[in-house]
C-alpha cells in the first residue's frame, strides 16, 4: 500500500455501512479496494475466506497466526471491519466467528473470474475514432493541465505568476475546488497558498490526485451528485486502459457531469464536450495502482521517498547545495523556481540556472507557512544534481542539521489532534485499552501513573469499548 492510497483508505473507512454496501455492488470497485487499499495481510485473509461456504471460527483463524503476529492480525481485522468487508458474529454458544459480507464476496468473485456484466469495467467504444490520440499526447495533456494547476497555487503566492495569465488556463471549477479543499485562500483578490496547499504541492503526483479527488467527493453532495456514484466511477477509471477510448453512452448523468470536471484536471481527455467517447489519461489509470503517475517527467514535483529510491532517479536532479548554504538549480521551469523560492532566498536568474541561498529568514518563513524541514530536505535530496549524488548523503550534513535547527527555533511545540481517554475503572481496563490502541496504531501517548491515553482516532476505540461493555453486561 502506498502513501497515496492510504489517504483514500482513511476516507473510505469513515463512510457508513450502507454506502459501503452500495459501493460493493460494482466488481470494479471491489477489485480496486482489494488491490490497493487493503494491507497485505488483510488481502490474505480475504482470499482465504473468499470461497468458504460457512462462517470461519475465530479460534481457527488464531491457529493461522504465530503469537508475535497478533498485532498485525488485529490491525488487518480492524481495517476489514471498518470497511464492512468482514462480519464478526457471535453464535448462541458464545463462539466468535467471521464471515465475508455477501455483496463484497460476490463482486470480488465476479471480478476475479470475469463473470457477470462487464459494464463495471468500462465499455470500449466500438466505432474507430477518426481523430484517435496516442499515449504520448495524453501524457502531455495530463501533465500540462496538472502542472498548470500546481503553478496556479504556488506561482501566485510567490508573485511569479501574474495571476491573470495562469488563471485563464485553470478552470473556475478547479479554482473553487482548491478553495473548498482549503489549499488556497483569496485575500483582497490575491490568491495565496495555505499550509494544506504546501503539503499538497510537495506530495507525489498520485497522492495529489487522491487528495484533490477526496475534496471533490466531499463537495459532490452539494452539487447534487451521489457520493457512491462518484466513487464507483473513480474506481472504474482506475481499471481502464491507457490509450483506449471508452463510450459515454453507458454512464449516468452524475458520471457525465463528472467527466467534464475531471477533464478540467487532466484526469480524462475528451475531444469536445459533446464527444461520445473519452480517454482516460495516466492520472486516471494509476489511481488504483502503486506505480506513480507522470513520474517519467522531471518537471513535476514528486516528493516521496518511494520516488527517490525508485528507478526513476536518473538525470532529473538539478539542485546543487554547497556547505555555505548556497544553492544552484539548473532549471528553467517556472513551477520549480517558484517551489524553490518558497524556502530559498533566490538572487539571480540565468536562462538555465537560478542561484540563491538558504537563509534562516527564508527557512523560518517556509516553516511559518507550514512546510516542515523534513519536506524541504527530502525535496532537495530527491532533486539533487548528479554531481551531488556522488556524495553520501547527497546534501551536506551541516546544511541539513541547520535547516532542522532553524525549524525547531520557530516551532517549540508539537501538536496532535485527537482524544484523551481517562477515568478507567481498573488497571486491567486501562491496560486492555492502550494495548488495543497500540496494536491498531492509533495510540499517540500514554501515562501509566495517571492512567490516561491519547489516541488520534476514536472510531475503532469506541467500537472496542462498546463491544467490551456488552460482554461485561452479559457476564454480569
Amino acid at each position: 500500500m502506498s502513501a497515496s492510497s492510504s489517504q483514500a483508505l482513511e476516507y473510505l473507512e469513515l463512510l457508513p455501512r450502507n454506502t459501503h454496501t452500495k459501493l460493493y455492488e460494482q466488481p470494479s470497485t471491489v477489485l480496486a479496494i482489494f488491490r490497493c487499499m487493503l494491507p497485505h495481510l488483510a488481502k490474505s485473509i480475504v482470499m482465504a475466506m473468499l470461497y468458504m461456504t460457512g462462517p470461519f471460527a475465530a479460534a481457527d483463524m488464531d491457529a493461522w497466526f504465530r503469537p508475535e503476529g497478533r498485532d498485525a492480525k488485529a490491525k488487518a481485522l480492524s481495517v476489514l471491519g471498518q470497511l464492512h468487508i468482514i462480519l464478526e458474529k457471535q453464535d448462541s454458544a458464545r463462539q466468535i466467528s467471521f464471515e465475508l459480507y455477501k455483496g463484497f464476496a460476490n463482486s470480488l468473485r465476479q471480478a476475479l473470474t470475469g463473470s457477470g456484466s462487464s459494464r463495471s469495467f468500462g465499455v470500449p467504444s466500438n466505432k474507430p475514432d477518426p481523430n484517435k490520440v496516442d499515449v504520448a499526447f495524453l501524457d502531455e495533456y495530463a501533465r500540462k493541465k496538472w502542472e498548470n494547476m500546481l503553478f496556479y497555487m504556488v506561482g501566485s503566492t510567490v508573485g511569479l505568476a501574474t495571476s491573470s495569465a495562469v488563471a485563464q488556463d485553470v478552470g473556475e471549477g478547479t479554482k473553487q475546488l482548491l478553495r473548498a479543499g482549503n489549499f488556497v485562500k483569496t485575500t483582497h483578490g490575491r490568491v495565496s497558498i495555505t499550509r494544506e496547499g504546501f503539503a499538497f504541492v510537495l506530495q507525489e503526483t498520485n497522492a495529489q490526485v487522491w487528495s484533490l479527488l477526496i475534496v471533490y467527493l466531499k463537495y459532490a453532495p452539494e452539487l447534487g451528485m451521489s457520493e457512491t456514484d462518484v466513487l464507483s466511477f473513480l474506481f472504474m477509471l482506475g481499471s481502464l486502459e491507457l490509450g483506449q477510448d471508452y463510450t459515454t453512452s453507458t454512464l449516468s448523468a452524475t458520471q457525465l457531469q463528472m467527466l467534464e470536471d475531471l477533464s478540467a484536471f487532466g484526469i480524462v481527455y475528451r475531444q469536445s464536450k459533446s464527444s461520445p467517447t473519452f480517454y482516460p489519461t495516466r492520472l486516471a489509470v494509476t489511481l488504483t495502482s502503486d506505480s506513480g503517475a507522470l513520474q517519467s517527467d522531471a518537471t513535476l514535483s514528486a516528493l516521496s521517498p518511494t520516488v527517490a529510491s525508485g528507478s526513476t532517479r536518473g538525470n532529473k536532479g538539478f539542485i546543487i547545495v554547497e556547505t555555505n548554504y548556497r544553492l544552484y538549480a539548473y532549471t528553467s521551469s517556472l513551477l520549480q523556481i517558484s517551489i524553490l523560492s518558497l524556502f530559498t532566498k533566490l538572487t539571480t536568474r540565468f536562462p538555465n540556472l537560478v542561484s540563491g541561498k538558504l537563509t534562516k529568514e527564508s527557512i523560518t518563513r517556509a516553516v511559518r507557512l507550514g512546510i516542515s524541514s523534513h519536506q524541504i530536505i527530502s525535496y532537495l535530496t530527491t532533486y539533487a544534481h548528479a554531481q551531488m549524488q556522488k556524495n553520501s548523503p547527497f546534501i551536506p550534513p551541516t546544511v541539513m542539521d541547520q535547516i532542522r535547527l532553524w525549524e525547531f527555533e520557530g516551532e517549540r511545540v508539537e501538536t496532535t489532534a485527537g482524544y484523551l481517554i481517562k477515568d478507567f475503572a481498573s488497571e486491567k481496563e486501562y491496560e486492555e485499552l492502550w494495548d488495543y490502541a497500540n496494536s491498531t496504531g492509533v495510540l499517540v501517548w500514554k501515562n501509566d501513573a495517571k492512567r490516561v491515553a491519547f489516541v488520534d482516532r476514536i472510531e475503532m476505540i469506541s467500537m472496542f469499548l462498546q463491544k467490551r461493555n456488552k460482554r461485561n453486561e452479559e457476564k454480569g
Partner: protein, 72 residues
C-alpha cells in the same frame, strides 16, 4: 466509566510548558483543558492556533536574538 475528551495534545519541554500555563492563567483558563505531565498538556482544539501565536509573541519579547548577518 471511561471518558473520552476531544482536544489537542501539545508536547513541549518543561520551560515552554511553564510559559503556556502562564498564558492560560492570565487569560482566564480558556486554553488548557488538562495539564497531563511535565511535557504534555491537553488544549482546546479551537484555541491551539491562538495559543501558539501568543507563545511566539511571548518568546519574541523575552528572548532577544542576535542579529543574523545575512551578507553575501
Amino acid at each position: 466509566m471511561v471518558k473520552a475528551v476531544k482536544g489537542v495534545l501539545v508536547k513541549c519541554d518543561a520551560s515552554i510548558k511553564a510559559m503556556l500555563v502562564d498564558i492560560d492563567e492570565k487569560n482566564g483558563h480558556e486554553f488548557i483543558i488538562d495539564e497531563l505531565d511535565e511535557e504534555h498538556i491537553l488544549v482546546k482544539e479551537t484555541k491551539v492556533a491562538e495559543l501558539k501565536q501568543r507563545l511566539q509573541n511571548m518568546m519574541k519579547e523575552r528572548l532577544k536574538e542576535p542579529e543574523s548577518s545575512d551578507s553575501e
